[in-house]
């Protein structure tokens, strides 16, 4: 594990700021329908291997527990892992600059052309695919993080309480986290 982390750090040291900007710019302009975490996992973890699954999950959990957009929060953390504060700034600017221009261009075009009724249906279709990407990412991460019965039950309980029953996230996490951390501790001392 320590060796893996070291190798990761060495790889990270070679990634330049322009490369970080370019990667997150790509992420920003492709993440339609709000599936930023799914795209980030695909581009940064699976394709480029800049961070590993456990770093991604750690960033994803912190990113959701503090206020703000979870996609932006994850980006800030990945940038910070890769190149410290400069990395965080560059990654976030990369992520947001494309969508900023795109949304203003769309708004300008929209006021000129007027509302086209079919567009809502098109957005629904794109959103459905984006949700598919989110689900697929979540399921891959379940395979990684919840390989045994205990963690799997924790994942299912999270989905049930937050997703299905719509209980507020923070209290649910505050209840499940000590159990899950306890399980991880037992497993560690047991092995």
């Amino acid at each position: 594990m320590a060796e893996v982390k070291e190798a990761g750090a060495q790889r990270a040291a070679r990634i330049g700021l322009p490369a970080i900007f370019a990667a997150f710019f790509r992420l920003g302009i492709t993440s339609f329908g709000g599936g930023t975490a799914g795209w980030l996992y695909r581009e940064i973890v699976e394709r480029r291997r800049w961070i590993d699954d456990s770093q991604f999950l750690s960033g994803a959990s912190l990113g959701r527990l503090v206020p703000g957009s979870s996609g932006v929060n994850l980006t800030v953390q990945v940038g910070q892992i890769l190149r410290g504060s400069a990395g965080a700034v560059v990654a976030t600017l990369g992520l947001l600059s494309g969508p900023l221009v795109a949304v203003l261009a769309l708004a300008a075009g929209y006021t000129r052309l007027g509302k086209s009724t079919g567009m809502d249906a098109v957005f629904d279709g794109v959103a459905a695919a984006a949700i598919g990407l989110t689900f697929a990412t979540g399921l891959k991460l379940v395979q990684f993080s919840a390989a045994s019965a205990g963690p799997l039950a924790i994942t299912l309980a999270t989905v049930l309480c937050v997703g299905v029953l719509r209980w507020p996230m923070i209290p649910v996490v505050l209840c499940l986290a000590p159990i899950s951390i306890g399980l991880a501790l037992v497993k560690r001392t047991g092995s």
Partner: protein, 182 residues
Amino acid sequence: MLDDTRALLGLALVFVPLSLLSIGGGASLLAEIEHQSVTVHGWTTQREFADLFAISRAAPGPGTMLSTLIGWKVAGLTGALTATIALYLPSSLLVYGAARLWGRWRGSVWHTVIERGLAPIAAGLILAGGIAVLRVSPGGSAVWVAAVVATALILCRPRLHPLVLFAAGGALFGLADVIGLW
């Protein structure tokens, strides 16, 4: 000039607090942004707000580009930049500080155990996030079916680029709307 400054200040005063209150992601913000823009400040009418929301859905990016559009409506390009920075900067600084603090303990036993313990919860939250977006999506049951099909395709065909699916989904739903399928 004074009016401009006042407008920008007004945007910052609305979006900075929202930045720090928006736990659980951008979707939880929508109702409050609407209340502030339409009722409190009169920046947009109800109708304009609905239009801006529709545009923000069409744009790529991490969810809440709606604030950018409201800023643009209030004070042009400087307004757009002010609202975007006001919404994203405070929460970004907070998560940056928290991540640095957390990273300081990397390598310790507790750090590893807590990270392992939080991993299955994080995976669950990502899945729950997908369900939440599905629930607010106005497209109805067809969107649910399409989302499940897209999930299966992405998992079973790793070579397939998601953008192809995005385009296919948009085209399919657009076509169904034109034909009047639903």
